[in-house]
Symmetry: C2
Subunit: 206 residues, 2 copies
């Protein structure tokens, strides 16, 4: 199969990659300084040195840049592999909490969700980014199934969603900050439910 490289993905490390790095770095700075509400393509262009028409061609909008930034950023969360399911869930919860403890990450999430409300294209990007992110992390559930810690047939996506959901609820709905208590409760609730077959598997049917 000879496919034409997707626009913007050609030549890793080359000019395209440098352009992306510059624009995402500029977005990060702007989000830190003024938050999402003040972000414009012109500001991104001025700070990154990339022409505004190039930014618009590649990302369509400020929101497109933000989702790309979020996708890149969330890759910095490693998938725990402690050898124990409960410990893995606690470590993942800690990592999610640590990620959202940075105001810039919180701004990013807010910006993404807000943008998705106005633009179905952005909504698809958000969905894709979170599905891709979740898929990576489900490895810890599959390992737990292999070790016999959770029932075979457990839906790994549901486990990760159950663990993650309380953080977004706290941030976006209750508008509060994330604390250690939320970390522990989210991990422990997901652990007990998964062990008990709440997310499918042999113990299911509650």
């Amino acid at each position: 199969m000879t496919e034409r490289p997707q626009h913007g993905s050609a030549r890793p490390g080359g000019r395209t990659a440098r352009t992306r790095a510059a624009v995402l770095a500029a977005a990060l700075h702007e989000l830190d300084e003024t938050g999402f509400a003040g972000l414009t393509l012109d500001k991104l262009a001025a700070r990154s040195g990339v022409h505004v028409s190039t930014i618009r061609r590649r990302w369509r909008s400020v929101e497109g840049v933000v989702v790309d930034l979020m996708a890149q950023h969330s890759k910095t969360i490693a998938t725990p592999d402690s050898g124990e399911f409960r410990q893995d869930l606690y470590e993942l919860a800690e990592a999610i909490a640590g990620f959202h403890a940075q105001p810039r990450s919180r701004n990013l999430v807010e910006a993404m969700v807000a943008a998705a409300a106005y633009d179905p294209h952005i909504a698809d990007l958000v969905r894709g980014a979170f599905i891709a992110r979740t898929e990576v992390v489900t490895a810890l559930v599959h390992r737990a199934v292999d070790r016999g810690e959770v029932p075979p047939g457990t839906d790994a996506y549901e486990v990760i969603a159950a663990l993650s959901a309380p953080f977004y609820y706290r941030l976006l709905i209750m508008r509060g900050s994330i604390d250690e208590r939320l970390v522990r409760a989210s991990a422990e609730a997901a652990y007990r439910a998964a062990r008990g077959g709440v997310f499918g598997g042999e113990g299911a049917g509650g």
Copy 2:
């Protein structure tokens, strides 16, 4: 204490109440027809017959109207009282799912969260609306404590947040629709965690 009635809350059933009803009904229609992205104060004025300056004075913005509508709407979810904690949680999860099954409710939530990202005043309104809403529903947790079904000292807000969070995660982050499986898993996970003292109380400490 003689307090001046809060602006806009005077004379229930009178002109102020009729104005509010007309504007909220207009917002509901517009959200059903075109979603939040197309909502403007002018459209609300045209449909409700209320002057745009009156709407702006009372609600400040389209977002202010939407949060008011959400607060009013969420009151239609009753607090279950079946005599059994698990059943109460299932019924509440069903009610939340039923609420969000309406496209208008989904639009409302999207609109609120988006607006909160851009305006700290709206963020406070959202927070206040959800805290007030949660407070009502915590009655079912207090009854479960009284019946000895969950440990004394259980944080009722955390139980309701744990039950609710997966719905908002599904809607806002994973951009999917709510299904029966999510209803069951959310209720059951919250039930087991609360019973086990995950949300404080005697069994706490994980």
